[in-house]
């Protein structure tokens, strides 16, 4: 086979870059089909020279396709390998190519959504946001750079993996590695979610539970302190010795809750939201509702 048709590395890089725009013409009829055809064009140009062949190839790749945009890359790789064989005369028909695409897109979407949307993005997002809230510009930069390094690397290597493994990829992917990644990601995800719920869901109750008048000697008696710096020094020493700053000890509802475990109210709110979601309450309704609750509770001095 002297003049066998092969896709060069440059073609594959071009396909990889175009796969960035996979969802560009997302539509309710065939979903990612336009972007898929657009992605395949460098390969079609290389492999098919006649107008009829090109037309057939374009039509073949305008069929229905939809998966998570990043895990489409291994499917693209496999399809490239199949197209290459077909162009070289192997009996790969349209149904085989469409079958591989459809067969892979479902299970892969099941990996892509939890790993990228529900583990990597919330973690990097929360990390970036926590820096941004303190006015640190590194927040968005870290988020943007890390995310795109992970994404671009993942898309290139899985596309190459798919291209080299050809149609065997579905067998490889059903093996243990994929399961490990999914499970590991959900463990990490749940762990981080637990800490995020604690740190970032802020529910603060203001009502005062008790006001206890402290006995004499348990608080700093400001009137009896010497004037000037000497007085400040004395006050600090008394505070260090455990004396209260105020003659009345105020305990808020929040302090009571926090003494159980900090973040308890936030946890309960999160569990309530999960329950409501399972009851098919729209997230939008819940978001707007929580704003209303915030305003009302603030007005009645509960928060």
């Amino acid at each position: 086979m002297a003049n066998e048709l092969r896709l060069s590395k440059k073609d594959r890089i071009s396909v990889w870059w175009r796969s960035t725009f996979l969802q560009g013409s997302w539509n309710y009829e065939r979903m990612q089909n336009g972007g898929w055809a657009y992605t395949m064009i460098p390969a079609i140009k290389r492999l098919y020279k006649t107008k009829e062949d090109r037309s057939a190839a374009l039509k073949r790749h305008l069929e229905f396709f939809n998966t998570h945009p990043y895990v489409a890359s291994p499917v693209i790789g496999v399809t490239l390998a199949l197209e290459e064989e077909r162009a070289n005369g192997a009996p790969v028909d349209d149904t085989a190519i469409q079958g591989v695409k459809v067969g892979m897109m479902g299970p892969l979407a099941g990996v892509g959504d939890p790993v990228f949307w529900f583990t990597v993005r919330p973690i990097l997002g929360a990390l970036g946001a926590s820096l941004a809230l303190t006015g640190n510009i590194l927040g968005p930069i870290i988020f943007f750079v890390l995310w795109n390094l992970i994404r671009m690397g993942f898309m290139w290597y899985t596309q190459e993996f798919g291209y080299k493994a050809g149609s065997k990829i579905t067998d490889d992917l059903s093996g243990g590695l994929l399961q490990d990644i999914t499970k590991g990601a959900s463990i990490l995800g749940m762990f981080i979610l637990g800490s995020l719920v604690n740190r970032w869901v802020s529910v603060k109750f203001t009502p005062v539970v008790s006001e206890v008048k402290l006995s004499k000697g348990a608080y700093i008696d400001w009137d009896k302190l010497p004037a000037g710096a000497q007085g400040i020094k004395e006050a600090l020493q008394q505070q260090a010795a455990g004396l209260s700053l105020e003659p009345v000890k105020v305990t808020t509802l929040q302090a009571n809750l926090d003494s159980l475990i900090p973040g308890l109210a936030g946890l309960l709110l999160t569990l309530l939201c999960m329950w409501l979601l399972k009851k098919k309450v729209s997230p939008i309704v819940m978001i707007l509702g929580l704003f209303v609750v915030g305003i009302v509770f603030h007005l009645i001095h509960l928060m």
Binding site: F21, Q23, G24, S25, W26, N27, Y28, G34, A37, Y38, S55, K59, L62, A109, D113, W117, F118, R121, P122, I123, A126, L127, A129, L131, A132, L133, G135, I137, G139, P140, F143, F144, N148, G184, A185, S186, I187, L188, M190, F191, I192, L193, S195, L196, V197, V201, I261, G263, C273, L276, P283, I287, L288, L290, F291, V293, G294, I295, F297, L299
Partner: protein
């Protein structure tokens, strides 16, 4: 504050990028953290917009496009609220009210997304026709048109807000009473829970709940940063995977009673 012409063009470009990314979901220009910061950067309001972006990001953590479903539109919410924050000239003080505006906008953006996705259905029919002719350039042209349409989805509303100008926006924001903005800020602290709840519902199984508990309790130790927590999480995941494999091979041939202590006693 009023923007000069170069700033307006830059804001328009950022809005366009955010709109594209709202559908592409690749570079993440539509995430509040990035979009708000970029708007802040080009308008010289970096720090307030950065804080707005961080706050919105926490609310939007769980928003994702899954299958055919569309999440609330982070792109429109971030771009529009950042522009409003900049125009109001309130700086950091305006963040709470900007967030209050962002959430309804996210819902409105949802409608725009659905409209554009429906329009895109027509575009793929043009692609079909181009494919029939074997015309590669035409297929590419329509793909790019569709992407630009998504960009304009955010860029046009952004331009509208800019066209209305700083005056009305500032009046609107300053007419908001204090109880309202404070209440909204309190609500904003709680709204985050909805995003987490969505994510947890997707991932939670009996097997991984204990890790949630560990994470929750460890987070009480405020000295551990998020990076530190991430490291612990990765370590736990690796340990769990390694141990569950050992358990699997060890129990393969043996009597698998699920009671390790009982097994040890039996073998004595």
């Amino acid at each position: 504050m009023d923007l000069n012409i170069i700033q307006i063009i830059l804001v328009f470009i950022v809005a366009f990028l955010a709109g594209m990314e709202g559908i592409l979901d690749e570079f993440q220009f539509h995430q509040p953290l990035v979009a708000c910061t970029l708007i802040g950067l080009v308008t010289g309001n970096l720090v307030p917009c950065l804080i707005l972006g961080g706050t919105l990001q926490l609310i939007a953590l769980g928003w994702a496009n899954i299958g055919a479903a569309v999440a609330p539109d982070a792109a429109l919410a971030s771009v529009a609220s950042a522009i409003i924050l900049v125009l109001s000239g309130q700086g950091k003080a305006g963040v709470a009210s900007a967030i209050a505006i962002a959430v309804p906008l996210a819902v409105a953006g949802l409608l725009l997304t659905i409209i554009v996705r429906t329009l895109a259905t027509a575009i793929v029919h043009f692609m079909d026709a181009a494919a029939q002719e074997g015309n590669i350039r035409k297929v590419e042209f329509w793909q790019i048109t569709a992407i630009c349409m998504q960009g304009l989805r955010i860029a046009i509303p952004a331009a509208l807000i800019l066209a209305i100008g700083a005056g009305p926006v500032r009046d609107l924001l300053s007419s908001m009473p204090l109880w309202l903005t404070d209440g909204l800020a309190i609500g904003g602290g709680m709204v985050v829970a909805v995003g987490y709840a969505m994510v947890i519902n997707m991932m939670a199984t009996r097997e991984v709940w204990p890790f949630f508990v560990i994470g929750f309790v460890l987070a009480c130790i405020s000295q551990i940063t998020l990076i530190g927590l991430g490291a612990i999480g990765i370590a736990l995941a690796l340990i769990y995977l390694a141990l569950s494999k050992q358990g699997g091979s060890g129990n393969g041939g043996n009597s698998n009673t699920g009671d390790p202590l009982g097994d040890i006693i039996d073998s004595y």
